[in-house]
């Protein structure tokens, strides 16, 4: 969870992620997710915007420590995706899958709903498949978009992609299906784009001009972002001394 203008995060190696709604309360702007989302939530609640974001996330979703779950099937008010089977990237046991889910399984570590553009190696039908999920097509116009794809299922690697489309409905035209088919993908979903578009990786940033407040981001691990463990795998195990164990509690 970010809830910050996309260029103002003090982070590197991330992209904009989910679709969201923008809200304004007491002249404070904040965002809330649209569609399923399971993410880490560690916002600074001293920030007024984050406070509202947290308040309404508590109302709409559930928290387990710092893990936030918004299950779209459980929030009815003003939710056109309520109880719809939404195509969702799901991470479980360090494996990624993309499938349609009405209610989020309880054992996921991360999840994010997107617009399906390619499933099981095939294209998807805009009118018969995508539109009934609740999308209205305004998300698909010609601009820069973020996509997430996998090449097999379950997958050890996810592919986060930035691409500029040129047709007014990238699904109806088959534009993105052709692109991702040629790249060897099995399943691809479209995340947010346009004014939300932001992709920073390896010291390179691709973004549209507007510094729009976005809701959640996908962070990419990087060797530069965190030093690797300086120690090798331990070969010695600390064991209780046979002579001096009194008062020692092993946990």
């Amino acid at each position: 969870m970010a809830n910050q203008p996309k260029k103002s995060l003090k982070k590197v190696n991330y992209c904009n992620a989910n679709f969201f709604g923008s809200y304004d309360e007491s002249k404070t702007k904040f965002t809330l997710p649209v569609g399923h989302l399971i993410c880490d939530f560690d916002l600074d609640l001293k920030d007024a915007s984050n406070k509202y974001c947290s308040q309404y996330c508590h109302e709409r979703g559930t928290f387990n420590g710092t893990k936030f779950t918004f299950d779209s099937s459980k929030w009815k008010y003003d939710n056109k995706f309520y109880n719809k089977a939404l195509t969702t990237l799901q991470i479980i046991n360090n494996k990624a899958t993309i499938s349609d889910v009405v209610t989020l399984p309880s054992n996921l570590s991360y999840a994010i709903t997107g617009i399906p553009v390619m499933l099981n190696g095939n294209d998807v039908k805009w009118k018969d498949y995508v539109k009934p999920q609740g999308w209205d097509g305004s998300e698909l116009y010609a601009t820069y978009h973020i996509f997430v794809g996998i090449k097999q299922e379950p997958a050890d690697t996810i592919y986060v992609m930035g691409y500029k489309t040129s047709t007014s409905n990238m699904i109806y035209s088959g534009e993105v299906y052709k692109v991702f088919k040629n790249l060897g993908f099995r399943d691809v979903i479209k995340l947010d784009g346009g004014g939300s578009y932001y992709l920073n990786a390896a010291n390179t940033t691709k973004a549209t001009n507007e510094n729009r407040r976005i809701n959640a981001i996908i962070e990419f691990g990087s060797a530069a972002a965190g030093a690797s463990c300086p120690y090798t795998e331990p070969t010695v195990t600390l064991k209780k001394s046979s002579k001096n164990t009194s008062g020692v509690k092993w946990v």
């Binding site: 992609m161 692109v179 390896a202 691990g221 965190g226 008062g247």
Partner: protein, 85 residues
């Protein structure tokens, strides 16, 4: 590991220290001392004076932050390969 030491070499009352390695000695980061005998503890002395241990395994976390992404452009698509972890 974090250890709470009782009265002895490391403290006259109670004191927390960090164990970062163990070989023939218990290798310690001691926030209150740089004395060699307190940073490189004799195992018998150490175990006799340790009251509680907390073990913290950060290897999975370190793997996560150390994951190397791969960024490239193919067919006009900017692609980041992200290992799932």
């Amino acid at each position: 590991m974090i250890a709470l030491m009782k009265k002895g070499l490391w403290t006259s009352g109670g004191h927390y220290i960090v164990i970062w390695w163990a070989d023939n000695k218990i290798r310690i980061n001691d926030p209150a001392s740089t004395k060699t005998e307190r940073l490189n503890g004799d195992p018998d002395t150490f175990f006799s004076q340790a009251k509680y241990f907390w073990s913290i395994d950060a290897r999975e976390f370190n793997k996560k932050v150390a994951t190397t992404m791969n960024y490239y452009t193919q067919n006009n698509v900017n692609i980041v390969e992200v290992p799932v972890s």
